[in-house]
Every structure is written in C-alpha cells, then in structure tokens.
Symmetry: C2
C-alpha cells in the first residue's frame, strides 16, 4: 500500500484535519510540453475574503508601523474607529522594513478593506522590483492587521473571514524546532525526539538529513549519517509513526533521487526540498523519478512561480509560508490552486512572534490542509526575546494528545496587552 | 536579410563595440525536454576578478554605509589604508538598506578582497530568504566600493579588473529616458525623439508600446497606438536607423506574438519584455514563435533563473541590470554564460546616481556587449536631487557622434568630491 493510500484510509488522522491526502494528487508524469493551467487559474481567481460579513465600507484611515529595537508591530484603524494589530516577523521584518513605508502602505491607506483581495494583488504585482520574501513579510504584516481589524468588526476569528472553519482542532507533528538535531549522531537526536513524542503524543515526526548546503556535486554532504538516520528513525518509532524527512536543499538531483529511494524503502510519508528552492526544473526531474510525496515551497514568494510549481506537479504537498508568501489571502489562493490539482497544503511558519497563531487561524479555514502541522513553541517571544503577553477567552492554547485547539476570539483570536504595544514607537521613515 | 545578419555585417557598428550579434545566437527550438547546461555552467564558473594585479592580500578592514536623507554612499577601507567609494541606487537603496547592515556586510568585513568572486557567491546564495532586487542592490553597492578600492590599489579603471578593455568607446541608443513618450500620440513622441537623434547623432532608437500593465487578457492595452507607432517609427527614421521596441510587460503571449510579427514586418532589431518578468515559460513560447530578437532580463535577480533563461534560449539579447543583479562580477558571469550560447549583452541601468559610470565600466570590459547601449543623463543627480560632483582626468564624458568615451582613471574612473561625501552620516542599524 502506498503511503498516500495509507493516510487516506484515515488510520492516522486522529480526527484532526478533514481532508486527507488525495489519491489523485500524484499525476507526476507530464503528458504534454506545457501544463494545463485552466483549473489552477480559475482557483486562483476565486474571492477569498468573505465580503458578506461587511455590508458597509470599511475605509482604512491609518496604517502605522511601530518599532522597539528589533521588533515591529503594525496597527491599522478604520474611519469608524475599529482597530487591528499584528506582530511582525521575528527575524525578517528588520531586514526590509522601509518597504512597509515606501512600497506597501500606500496601497492600503484610504482603501475599502473589503477589497483586500485586490489590494494585495496590486501591492504584490505592481511592486515588481521589490518582489521577494522581505517585501512579502511587510505585506503579510499589514494584511494580518487589516484582517484582525475586520475580525473585530464582524466579531469572528480570522479563519472565518477567509474560509469556512473546517479544522477547529489541528494535529501536530514534531520537527523543525530541533534544528540542531541535524548535527548530532542519529542515536542521540532520535532519543531527544522520542522524549518530545512522549510529552506531546504527536503522531508524526519530521527528521532532517544532509547538512543544508548544496555543494554542487553528486555527493551526500552528511555521508553515512543520512542512511543510518533513515533506517534508525523507522526502527525507533515503529511502523505506526508517520515519518517525514526534510533535506534542507542539501543535494544535487542525482543524489536527491538516491536518498529519496531510501526513504521510500523505509516508508516515509514525505520528502521535503532536497534541492535549493529555485531549482524548479531540477525539482521536477526529482519528483518525476520518485514515488514518495515531495513537499516544498516555503521560500517561494511569487504567485506566478507557485502556479507553475502546482500546475506542473513539481510538489505533491505545498508548504507556503504565510509571512514569506505575503499573507493569508495569497496563501489561501495557493491552497485553492493546490486543491484544483488534488494537492494538500502544510503551511510553513518560522518560530517566534505570533506566527503560530497566524498559522493556526489559516489552517482552521483551509479545506485541503494536511493531516498534521508543524509544532512550534506556543509561549512565543518577540524579536527582542520578550514574551508577548496575550489573553485568550478559550482554554490555554496547548497540545492535547497531539492536537491543538484554535482560539475562537475575534480577529487573531487572542487579546494582546496594550501595555506591551505601547512600549513600541512609531516609525516615520 | 535578417536583422541579426544586417548587424553582423558591421554596417551600423560605427567602430564601437567589437562583437556584433552572432549569427549562431538564435537556436530557438529546443530539441530535447531539458537544455544542455554544460557550456553555461563552465562559463559561469570562470574567474572574473583579475587576481594577478594583486600579489598581496587586500584585507577589507571596514565597511561603512553613509546616508543623507534618501541617498546612500558606501565606503570601504583596506587594512593598508586603501579606500573605495560607491553611490547607492537612486530609488531602490532606501527600500532595503537594512539588508546592507544585517545580511550583506558580514560577508565582506575581514575578508581578502581578492576573493571577491567567492564572497559574492556566498552573500547572494546563502541569504536565500532575502534574494531579490532590493538585496542585490545592497550587494552591488558594496561590490562597487570594493572594486573602486581595488582599482585605486592597482591604478586601473574598474573595467580592467573584470576583463580586458575591448570597448574604450561605446555607441549609444536613445530610449528609456523619455518614458512619458509612451503616453503621447505617436506623431508627438516621434518628433521629440527625432530632435534628440539630431543632437546626439545616435544611430539607434528604442520606442515603447503598450501601457505597461498586463491585463491578463489577449488585448492590446494601448489599442491602435501600437500599430501606428511601429509603422510611423520606421517611416520617420528611415531604413538605416536601428529601431527597437520595449513592450514593458504589456501583453499576454498571444498578443505579444501578434505585436512581434508587426515588428518583424517593419524590420525592428529587438523586441523587449512583452510579458511580466517572471513569465519564464510563456516568454519561451513567444520567443519560439517569433523570428525577431527577444531582449530581456533587467529585473531578474537570480543566477539559477538567469542560467535557465540563457540555456533555454528564452532571450536572444540579455539585459542584466548591474545593480539589480548584484554587481559587476555577477553580471559578468551572466555575460560569460550568454557568450557560451552566442548571445550578446545590453546591460540595463536606471537613470540617477552614478549608474551610467558603472555601466560604462562594465561594457568597456564585456567582450559580448551589444553594438549600442542605452543612453542616460550624464550629469546625474543623486537620490536627493543633488548633482554628484565628480572630476575626470579625461575629457568630459559626452556623446560624440553617438559614441561615448569611458573614463580611464583608477577605480570608477572619476574622483568624487570628498566634501560631498562628508555631507552624509554613518548608519549604525
């Protein structure tokens, strides 16, 4: 039985996400020279923001970027006095924040927030010389604040504004938090991971192979360790555990295929980004050669490239980063394109800031979200290492038997202490 | 006779650039599913910086970013007291300058400037989440200053550090300076252009069609005007004038092909960027369908994509922007890849700052530079609108009978008034 059928059987889903991996997802071999884009284009064009909740215009009167040292906060206010807040990305915001002031905010000020789909389209596509992750992070920061404001107006959580809530609880997998495990001996890193599994009852674990730097040759840059880790991972966690492997751009196409075949042998669920992010054509070669599900797309910033990657079946599982791709609405357009091709979405999110909350809100409304999502620290520090003080009307956000509850308050779903926001100062240029 | 053969005959070259457009350049129809990359990869790997001029290490002791309002200056100093200066990009530097401090400069400080090829490789490829034009502009700014310092040490102009001086004089074409001409009636804009031709004796003119925004349909977004401009341009300037057309991303593939056929009918030399910059596959479809030379690449920031565009014959004429692509050495690597496929290079450069000098230095050493290059204002203002005070040991830089002399002083070739630099203050974060 193929891994995707195993998952589709529901044995591992633990009642969390509702749409398992579709059996039709893997149409790997392209039949003509150019893909048929009609399905993904129609999916991309579907409206995302639910205008029906807002009978009257919501004019964005002010957009502010606040800063304290390395940390950034966005505050938006409507003409009628509604307010929305977002916390910037923990380590990219600082790199390109002038783009917020000089490239992004002018697309929002004075506009009707109900036109957010179109505002984002223009801000992303007509800033053509600034496209990339640093600009998208600014775009996402502003979008999160606008959505928070709209959620406050409609008294709905953010997820409900961009889709129907289909995943009120979200199953987690363990993984990227332990980046350093990549450099340890397999025995040591697997033992540490096993302790976390015991604590969280996670039903899925992502390991890391290679040493992250493609050397431009056909060698493994962590020779010996990779084979051992793949085999020992399966032995350690047993046949019931869903195992995944992140290769962090370590390989050439030839070596990527060799490692992929090993992963197939040990029944790993997916194989993430063996090549550098923009090796589009080479990744297609790898995907065509392998049967294991290929996962990727976290550093992709660009709608037209994402469209190509999806329509050409370069990935089986799409992993847009909600910050890096420029916000929830653009990421939902990616999810809709993926759905048109029977693919699932496992959004990527860096740890730090309130990223885990943005991800939970997104996944709660994403009908083709994968069966489990990356676990990050819940009590999260901002870019200065300060704990962000939040309150939730729900139970504390935590993992119970490997499943996390999405907060149900309005907007982002939690309340951020105004005293914390007031420690930040407005940026004028 | 095809346009490229006409040019290859030398009739229009006026003794300027030495390598006309190669007759072997246009192998448009791809024969296998994937291109052969061996030639371009070998070309990309060739060393660019001429280490032989520097017997001893040149340790970069300090890197400073200076600012006055919107204008940025980079100053580098070696351990032995040599100094280099560059002027930032006139309108992109401000958008992403924190990347200079937090992503770029650490790759340079303390390093031997003779390893500049490798330093640039790591700074560009290992900042994978920041890739794009805004980061590359910072990278280029720092590289220009290091090259200026190296030129001062070796007492050679910058071009001589990155190649052999093959184009001491550079023929110009008229064009992008008059962006607003796009919106005028063809009669009016052609009359204005004719006056400039009279003044400069330029032998080549670039016109603009469409209205720059792709509408996502198969219509011309400047209906009627385009056909008229194409025909009247040829009538106005006669058969001897080299005419080019920039379509500024106005079209769908279908409409791009229709306009391209009109341009072929009126014997235009090249057809620039009819589609948005990142419509790679679609641009290949357009190029395959047409016989006219396709020109593009000015907003491309990424080496791996540029490699694909060149190896897959998506463009016949490559137009890297020396700022947007991250400096002279990376742009020369593009030129070397282009040469491996028999293609020519016409670098793009925004007007403002000292961009025209960086472009002249680059073209002076580029063996497959095209027969004429875009003319920009010589007396150039910085990002604050202040004239940058420079002195040259050569005659004033000017166009004589459509040909410009490249300054021959050390480094950038001219001396920037220290009083001007001192009006700028150091940026710490």
């Amino acid at each position: 039985m193929k891994r995707r059928d195993f998952l589709a059987s529901g044995a591992l889903l633990a009642g969390a996400s509702t749409v398992p991996f579709s059996a039709s997802a893997k149409e790997k071999k392209s039949r003509s020279k150019y893909a048929d884009y009609s399905g993904v284009d129609a999916a991309r064009a579907k409206p995302v923001l639910k205008r029906e909740f807002f009978p009257d215009p919501v004019i964005i009167e002010s957009v502010e970027l606040l800063r304290k040292e390395n940390n950034f906060i966005c505050r938006v206010r409507s003409k009628d006095g509604a307010e929305g807040i977002s916390i910037g990305h923990p380590f990219i915001s600082k790199q390109g924040y002038p783009m917020f002031k000089f490239a992004i905010q002018r697309w929002f000020v004075g506009k009707d927030a109900r036109d957010l789909d179109q505002i984002l389209y223009h801000a992303a596509e007509q800033n053509e010389k600034k496209q990339g992750v640093p600009m998208n992070v600014q775009l996402a920061t502003l979008e999160f604040a606008v959505l928070d404001m709209l959620g406050n107006i409609a008294d709905k959580p953010l997820g409900a504004l961009i889709g129907d809530i289909c995943n009120p609880n979200i199953a987690i997998y363990l993984g990227t938090l332990y980046r350093q495990l990549r450099d340890l001996e397999p025995e040591v890193s697997l033992e540490m991971m096993a302790k976390q599994v015991e604590e969280t009852h996670a039903k899925a674990v992502k390991l890391r192979c290679g040493s992250a730097n493609n050397l431009g040759d056909d060698k493994d840059n962590a020779p010996g360790r990779t084979e051992k880790l793949i085999r020992m991972g399966r032995e350690k966690f047993g046949d019931e555990m869903v195992l995944m492997m992140d290769a962090n751009w370590s390989y050439s196409p030839k070596e990527a295929i060799r490692i992929g075949r090993l992963l197939e042998e040990y029944n790993y669920y997916f194989y993430e980004e063996p090549l550098p992010w923009n090796w589009y054509e080479e990744q297609k070669i790898v995907c065509d050669a392998l049967d294991i599900n290929m996962a990727g797309g976290e550093v992709e910033a660009n709608m037209h490239q994402m469209r190509w990657l999806i329509a050409n079946d370069v990935w089986d599982i799409i992993q847009p980063d909600i910050f890096y791709f420029g916000g929830m609405i653009r990421s939902m357009q990616v999810a809709n394109m993926a759905a048109a091709k029977g693919k699932i979405v496992l959004p990527h999110m860096s740890s730090g800031g309130l990223g885990y909350l943005y991800m939970l809100q997104f996944v709660s409304a994403c009908k083709n979200a994968g069966p489990f999502h990356e676990f990050k620290l819940f009590a999260t520090k901002d870019a200065n290492g300060t704990l962000i003080p939040i309150e939730s009307k729900d139970d504390p956000i935590k993992s119970t038997d490997g499943v996390v509850n999405v907060p149900t308050g309005s907007g982002i779903g939690v309340h951020i202490d105004p005293g914390y926001i007031s420690t930040h100062e407005m940026i004028y240029s």
